[in-house]
């Protein structure tokens, strides 16, 4: 299903610009049918927001994109998720390979109990980079990319736990950037942050989309409206509507979308 940017227009998305193509994805936790026939195309260098009430499947969906959901033992899936035209469920697709390309930032900042420097250098080191000079460069570039370099450059050896929540979250984003991913998944990345830190992360997301494709699950509808290019509204495991954020927040097609974004339920 090709989603047009502007409702009613017939513009087609160039296949090479599609990062994720989800086709007829179904997912069950045991007997619970959590995702139902999901068809979604995620375009590169865009921010795609996923909104919906609790239990609608939005977090499950994002965790399926890097196969993290497989950590739940009772999970079963059907359908396909093509990442750069390759089905991530293929038997010969290594999950490590996928996660090198797809970084993730979680709701609660989760830095390692290590120095700021070691947090960022962790990924590159396990990928075999040993040169101090190269690691230094990666650390600086990643911290700059996450808009936190100026705040921490003079204390790279202090423990990341000593930073504020908002700074910790940007450290986690920098850690994610250090492995040079293609996609960044964000699961409610600002829900534990104060408004100013939230603003900084939102500004950062806008900058990051120049180089990365970002998929963000958010409970904050105004945040989705502010920062995303496309918005998908999930309800009871289904995608009710997926369109440009402009359309979703001004003239949504489906009454359930309008009711949800207008605070009539959820």
């Amino acid at each position: 299903m090709v989603q047009s940017f502007k409702k009613g227009s017939a513009s087609q998305i160039d296949a090479s610009s599609i990062v994720y193509d989800t086709q007829k994805l179904n997912l069950w936790y045991g007997n619970h049918h959590a995702l139902k026939n999901i068809d979604l195309q995620i375009k590169e260098n865009e921010v795609t927001a996923i909104i919906g009430p609790s239990g609608c499947g939005k977090s499950t969906y994002i965790k399926t994109l890097n196969r993290m959901v497989e950590l739940v033992p009772t999970v079963k899936t059907s359908g396909e998720i093509l990442y750069r035209e390759r089905n991530i469920f293929d038997a010969n697709y290594g999950v490590e390979e996928l996660r090198t390309k797809v970084g993730m930032v979680f709701q609660k900042p989760n830095p390692f109990p290590k120095s700021i420097y070691d947090n960022i250098a962790y990924g590159p080191r396990i990928h075999g980079i040993k040169s101090k000079k190269i690691l230094d460069q990666i650390v600086e570039k990643s911290l700059r990319g996450a808009a936190i370099w100026d705040e921490v450059k003079d204390r790279l050896n202090t423990n990341a736990y000593s930073l504020s929540g908002g700074q910790q979250q940007r450290i986690c984003i920098a850690r994610c950037l250090a492995i040079e991913p293609d996609v960044i998944l964000m699961d409610e990345p600002t829900s534990a942050l104060d408004p100013i830190s939230t603003l900084k992360v939102e500004e950062l997301i806008q900058e990051l989309k120049e180089d990365y494709s970002i998929i963000i699950v958010t409970h904050n509808m105004q945040q989705a409206a502010r920062i995303s290019d496309k918005t998908a509204f999930f309800l009871n495991g289904e995608v009710v509507e997926f369109d440009s954020t402009d359309v979703i927040f001004s003239t949504p097609e489906d009454k359930r979308t309008e009711d949800y974004i207008s605070g009539r339920f959820g």
Binding site: M221, F249, S250, T251, P252, I261, S262, G263, R264
Partner: protein, 219 residues
Amino acid sequence: MVGREKFDADLNQVQSLLLDLSNTAIDTLDNSMSFLFEKDIEGALSVLENDEHINHMEEEINDRVILLIAKQQPVATDLRRLMVLVKIAADMERIGDYACNIAKETIRIGKDEHIEPIVMLEEMRVKTIKMLKQVLDAFTNENMEEAKSIAKLDDEVDEMYGHIIRTLLTAGINNPAQLSQVTQLSFVCRYLERSADHATNIAERLLYLLKGKHYELNN
């Protein structure tokens, strides 16, 4: 968005304020025409005095809408509704201004004998007031068909306008002594025609509210 019930309650209050403003503006326009026909200078003065009240009602609507947007961050139909309420309030306030302008012409004409074409303004007044009441009714009931039917009435008012202006000009040419009143009644005619245009605007705003698309009714 938080507090849907509070939002709905506040929104209803603004809507009812708009209805008050609209009814007041329409009645004022209607009355100002009666005062013209009746050479009622006192009445015309009361129209001018009442204008501040109409202006105040519009400001009150604007202030409340600003607060609702700031505090509740509405989206989609809710947001369009608030924008439309502000715009209709401006339309109605302007109709109040036209009523004042007509009252001023009434005061200028004073107790002079009316020239004959003034009777033609009565039909135009009836049609304009009908349009305004109809569009208000369409807005209250969110009736698209009723809103669309406003376009035809506006065409009729426009036609009357052309006809009355030609008649007035002919009267002025034939009897230059009447030129002053010809000018005054031409203005009155223009104010009624503009009021009818605002009725059409309101109909277009209702369609935008309901459909999220822009409509042009008087093409």
